[in-house]
Subunit: 433 residues, 2 copies
């Protein structure tokens, strides 16, 4: 038998596999970048192990996957809150973004990667400007990421006219195509900021390279009203009409959906990213997630950017996702803890086209996992591990993290990041020093 | 000038006083149990200081106040979730509570106090059984607490018939009356589980000793319907009718209120405890808090017990409180961060009748304060301290805590608690070892 590079052992293993396998006092064996074996801890006693991570009676589980964020917006965390959308965007966010540079986006993305690693996220999907800087941050931090340059009809502070936006995206695709942790996506902003030609061309590019196509859809009532005026269709129906719906499409937000929209999303196997905290904070509404799941649509969870949340803690997002739908339909049985945890792990991986790569602890998948330290007052006692993970655990309870077979955090210390430098860089770039 | 016992210095002091004073690079001087002075850190340079707590550029603020919990329900955290109310109560919570003992309530309360200290809460209001054990835990842990035995028409697993419930409550009042951190309250469960005679007698007892009267009110539609059938009145109108509304009454939940109910609460200066996460998780509804605040009602925040939350983290509760009302009325400007922070500090103190004691950093008040470590990725950069505290900080970011002039936590280590013993006691009592 081959030697084990890393054995993560001595905890309850929550696999999130199709059978919801849970192994009390289990272990996960990692060889190179992959999960080589999973089973009772005792079964690994005779194996040669190069490095052991002791879960100390805690929980060993797949790393969380954030299906929608704008990582570098960490730079504007708390810059403006509690405002109406137009004031917030026009008076605060857009002016701040007009001053963005590659350097600032890199600094913000590194900060976001540090925050995500420290709170148990091992993979995220990003949409922003200067995304080559975000891909670089994914590379440098050890994270896994799906990143893409935002495309829209008007000139971009990064690439200028849209023609160069497609060139920039294709450069990204070619530059990062062989990277084990970076996936490039094609990312038109939204049906209301992208003409049909832009959307179609984006879809064709996603087809050609077989990569995700990412878009904001039906985030607000205003957007839907605007689309109906312009195209006489809902945003989803408009996308269907021009032929952009596909299994590779990641539709973010999907707050305002008709029954027909849901049928269309299901019929085309479109993936949905649900962002409850952002939708609440911006007063966009509550996405019909129970209906989407009932219809068989694959839904993953995401935090959105730090200006509308204001953190990247997927544990907090799970807690909110579980609660908001209960109260919005006055039914405490909807969105049970296991369903919500799936939305942050295996379903999220499927949303990003990474269902065979990450999102669950299964032999042969890449080794993306985290360890939760449960030896704390607020995690005592433990009756049900799913309930704990959704309703009681916070990002600060993550003790260790492994991404693609590499230990990126142990004992809450990120192994490859200079936190002091990352923090001071953002403070310098934003003038908050 | 008298020597300073403790100087908490080197951070942004957020006072939560009437003028919303914020002092950059400020300090708080403590002598004995009280705040002796507050001002710029430089002003204390020549003073003799016995002990210094360095906030290291972080935030110095009043400790958070949890206006409604059932501390010992930590014992049942995650025992049963995602169920309808009747199944949850009848099949899980009530059977578990029937086996409660003084010893188990003490163990659960000590666990809760540890969790609260570790997450920045310095004062809480409790309602449960065997409350002498909770008062003892408040004493032993160093917390500040308002505690009271739950009273209702049927026999209690603690005191038996209601007659002995009043005797038990009066014993508590006499036993703890001179304690600097323990306040005893009279706590009839609710208008639907307490006959008018029980409510009136409770009110008279609260009058006689000038102590808080605590009750659950209008938590669910069902309760309101039941009260209308029985008394032809809403729960609030019923309480008004029998003469129980007063400035000392703490009405918990207040989810289902009519405009007339709000007028009555205001007219009698009744205090309200808002528990959004519990109301969401149990699908009770969303309390009309913006309307209550607009009407001038004093509203504090609370987590409710760990079976319906499932933690005691007031920072998480603030985040939810700020967001849920925005989405429920589709207005991102309601419940701004400063308003929400007031609900967890100074307004909460007023709710519990402790407005002159705690809830803000002001000269002469008891020294109940916490220090937030902001030198972390998820708290970078900082544009607005209120936004950070509500939308980004979590309980795990609290570095130090002082209650009644005593340091109860420093560098995240509780100074007077044996965490290992506290955790193992609850695991033993609940059979979760």
């Amino acid at each position: 038998m081959t030697d084990i590079d890393i054995l993560v052992t001595g905890g309850t293993v929550v696999t999130m596999d199709a059978g919801d396998t849970i192994i009390k006092d289990g272990a996960v064996a990692i060889i190179k970048d992959a999960i080589a074996d999973i089973g009772p801890a005792g079964g690994f006693r005779d194996r040669r192990v190069a490095r052991t991570i002791d879960a100390n009676g805690g929980i060993i589980m797949p790393g969380l996957i954030n299906t929608h964020t704008h990582a570098s917006m960490t730079c504007f965390r708390g810059l403006a809150d509690d405002l109406d959308l137009a004031t917030w965007l026009n008076d605060h966010i857009f002016p701040a973004e007009a001053r963005l540079t590659h350097e600032m986006v890199y600094a913000g993305a590194m900060l976001a990667c540090a925050e995500m690693i420290l709170s148990g996220t091992t993979c995220f999907k990003d949409m922003y400007l200067f995304e080559d800087a975000v891909a670089q941050a994914v590379h440098d931090s050890g994270m896994r990421g799906v990143v893409g340059e935002v495309l829209y009809d008007f000139p971009s502070p990064n690439y200028g006219p849209i023609e160069q936006g497609f060139a920039y995206t294709e450069d990204l695709i070619l530059k990062w195509r062989d990277h084990p942790r970076v996936t490039i996506a094609v990312e038109p902003h939204s049906p209301y900021l992208c003409a049909p030609e832009l959307l179609l061309r984006s879809a064709r590019l996603s087809d050609r390279y077989n990569i995700p196509l990412v878009i904001h859809v039906s985030e607000t009532e205003d957007e839907v009203a605007q689309m109906k005026t312009r195209y006489n269709r809902t945003p989803v129906a408009h996308l269907a009409d021009i032929g952009v719906l596909s299994p590779r499409l990641v539709a973010c937000h999907c707050v305002v959906l008709s029954g027909q929209d849901i049928d269309l999303l299901k019929a085309h196997d479109v993936k949905v990213s649900h962002n409850p905290e952002s939708n609440m904070k911006l007063a966009s509404g509550i996405a019909p997630v129970p209906e989407l799941i009932n219809a068989g649509v694959c839904v993953g969870l995401g935090t959105d950017g730090c200006t509308s949340n204001n953190n990247l803690d997927m544990f907090a997002e799970m807690d909110t996702a579980a609660k908001i739908h209960k109260v919005s339909r006055m039914d405490p049985t909807v969105m049970d803890a296991r369903t919500v945890l799936r939305m942050a792990t295996i379903e999220a991986a499927k949303v990003l086209g990474l269902g065979n790569i990450t999102g669950s602890l299964e032999k042969g998948k890449r080794a993306d996992l985290i360890v939760i330290d449960t030896n704390k007052p607020h995690l005592t006692p433990m009756y049900n591990v799913y309930s704990h993970l959704v309703y009681a655990v916070g990002g600060g309870d993550v003790a260790a993290s492994v991404i693609n077979g590499r230990v990126v955090m142990e004992d809450r210390r990120p192994t490859g990041l200079d936190l002091e430098k990352i923090i001071s860089e953002v403070n310098r770039c934003t003038g908050c020093a």
